[in-house]
Assembly symmetry: C2
Homo-oligomer: 395 residues x 2
């Protein structure tokens, strides 16, 4: 087989007609298509779409402040190692543009999809895994407006067969600890005593450890399995202090990591128990797999971060598909209409309630071109009178 | 005096006609002007201009993935604390856009300039310093193509009265250690035995400690005062290992930090001896001052990172102007024609060869509107048929 030369890369910015000022990250997306050898590879960036479109095409500022495009177009790919080397090139030439990994992630994922389709192998096999273990999906959702609403959401998830549920954001952590406790109590009642309950604080306390400690008795009482993102991802000392103060409730974090080092630091210095990686942000499937391997060596559990589409879910499952010890999987249950309609296939829960990485070639999730048409946002970027990006037309 | 309401913010993307693929970061810039109360405050972002322009205007993706503009316009500023609070708001609402601090930095700097002009006080006084200590400027430049060229550059700097010189980038670290040694030997000869010589490796070794260690004997022999950025800023374990192996040559780094935490980690975990902060990237003068204070507590020396204009230099001097122990100052000596022409005033070296923060109100460096006209890059960004950014017209 010939090398895959990267020449045809298209970005599609898709958005809901009305974007709400809530933590639902599925309201828009930046989809990437790479066409070669008569095949299409697809990926998704977890990013601000317009910022990444500018990052894709931006004029050079100096040697390490260059567009992603300039490093990608014309490169040849034949083997997973080539994707890794391309990532290193993009990192180096884009070092002074913080957005670079967010933008490259979708390309990296699309290249794995393409190589998988070409080799007629699922991506997890290309990563060196022999087997995709079943994962327990947890229903990932936002807290209700009221404890009653949180209770109803928990009960509904239980009725849908979920044995694990996570609630996040909303007002959690912004008011009195007693108000937060009412939500946890309601969630536990709705889920039942035997369900796994997780809480996502959504970085609400910045780096304020005292605010987090105030909630530990309630989190312990309701047997919360992990407390996620009490702090911004860079607040390593705060993570470390809280982890030391919380023997029962493990700390989780990492979704903000946009390189291997940031995830490693949360493990090494932050002392978290669960590392949550979004392949659409960390630079793709390869860097995520490196984190999964590192976590395993350090007795930290790797979990995907996915709140959006099943394409993103498939890409996020691959890096730890073959690691039996990492048994949980974030599963989106309240994604936007756009995110739900975007893919023709989904990674449905099996009859046993479990989720497994796709056995289809590539990522096994094909975007629905009609949905892309419906939600496509028209963008044009002109520099010095020349159009350097415009939204591609679909056939 | 009334509050300053932020309503009129203009971004100017300026670039040299031809951008070369070298490490000279002065080939373009993103200038910010904020007009209020009949005054103009000016700042500069160290960023990829087009990426930050998109970051300024991007449509909302969700609650913590919002444009900088949406957090800034309409806010009121009266006191330095208000700038800090605005920074926190921007951080929070822009948490999922990695470029955010790069983009906000120029705004933050312009706000200090504005408040200083309004109060008729230099910015260092607004920061709480009583006195601006003289700093020893070091002539910051790229290595020559050959050792002879490096020798000439060093000799020229000495002839110009510089007692400290830094060489960086070029081919340093990319070939054999012997070739690197020839450059250091030439630099030392050109500078003379009594001059301070620093080396900037420009992250060339990624996180490979062995490559750095190979150069330590040569760095020690030529009495190099610091080795800067042997690794990418996130490679904390590599920094720590090298620092432990290098008792004579201190390690410097930090220019890539785009929040307080990243700089703190280089001090806490990376064990560097010099922390180098670019106010145009870390979120402005306030976060840089917080790093300077933290460094002082931890016996680490704060140094500015400035390779470009005298507006950037003035903004970068303010955060440590009043700290006598931090006595060195990076001083651009081979900035592009654009960077040299951009300002009407400069922070000239005094007769004693030293540099001091400006005593003029604000930052004391006014951009030259004619130079802006000459280098202005025309940009237009359209989303859904609506122009959301276009290059402002100058009067």
């Amino acid at each position: 087989m010939s090398l895959v030369k990267i020449e045809h890369v298209d970005f599609f910015y898709l958005a809901m007609p009305d974007i709400l000022d809530i933590a639902d990250g599925s309201q828009d997306t930046l989809l990437v298509r790479i066409q070669a050898d008569g095949l299409s590879g697809w990926g998704e960036c977890e990013t601000s779409p317009l910022v990444s479109l500018a990052n894709w095409v931006t004029p050079m500022s100096h040697s390490i402040c260059q567009s992603v495009r300039s490093s990608v177009i014309g490169q040849e790919i034949d083997h997973p190692d080539d994707i890794r080397h391309l990532g290193q090139l993009v990192d180096r030439r884009g070092l002074d543009i913080a957005q670079t990994a967010h933008t490259f992630s979708g390309i990296e994922i699309a290249l794995w999809d393409l190589l998988g389709k070409r080799a007629r192998l699922p991506v997890y096999r290309l990563l060196g895994f022999d087997h995709a273990y079943a994962k327990t999906p947890y229903a990932s959702q936002l807290f209700g407006e009221t404890p009653e609403a949180t209770y109803e959401k928990a009960r509904q998830s239980r009725d849908q067969g979920f044995r694990a549920v996570k609630f996040g954001w909303g007002n959690y952590g912004t008011g009195a600890p007693e108000a937060d406790d009412e939500h946890l109590s309601a969630a536990r009642r709705g889920l039942g005593n035997d369900g796994l309950l997780m809480v996502d604080a959504g970085t609400v306390w910045g780096s304020n450890v005292d605010q987090a400690k105030l909630r530990l008795p309630s989190l312990t009482e309701h047997r919360v399995f992990w407390l996620e993102e009490p702090f911004v991802g860079d607040a390593l000392a705060a993570y470390q202090e809280l982890a030391a103060a919380s023997p029962d409730v493990k700390i989780a974090g990492g979704e903000g990591a946009f390189n291997f080092h940031m995830a490693k630091h949360l493990i090494d210095y932050g002392k978290i128990g669960f590392i949550q990686i979004d392949t659409g942000r960390i630079g793709g499937i390869g860097p995520a797999k490196a984190v999964a391997d590192y976590a395993l060596e350090h007795e930290v559990t790797f979990v995907n971060h996915t709140f959006t589409t099943h394409l993103a879910l498939s890409a996020s499952l691959a890096p730890f598909a073959g690691i039996e010890a990492c048994h949980l999987c974030e599963f989106p249950v309240e994604a936007s209409r756009l995110a739900v309609k975007l893919n023709n296939h989904e990674l449905a829960r099996h009859e046993d309630g479990m989720v497994r990485a796709s056995e289809e070639p590539g990522l096994g999730v094909e975007p629905n071109l009609e949905a892309i048409q419906e939600y496509l946002v028209d963008v044009e970027i002109k520099v010095s009178g020349k159009t350097i990006y415009s939204t591609p037309k679909l056939p």
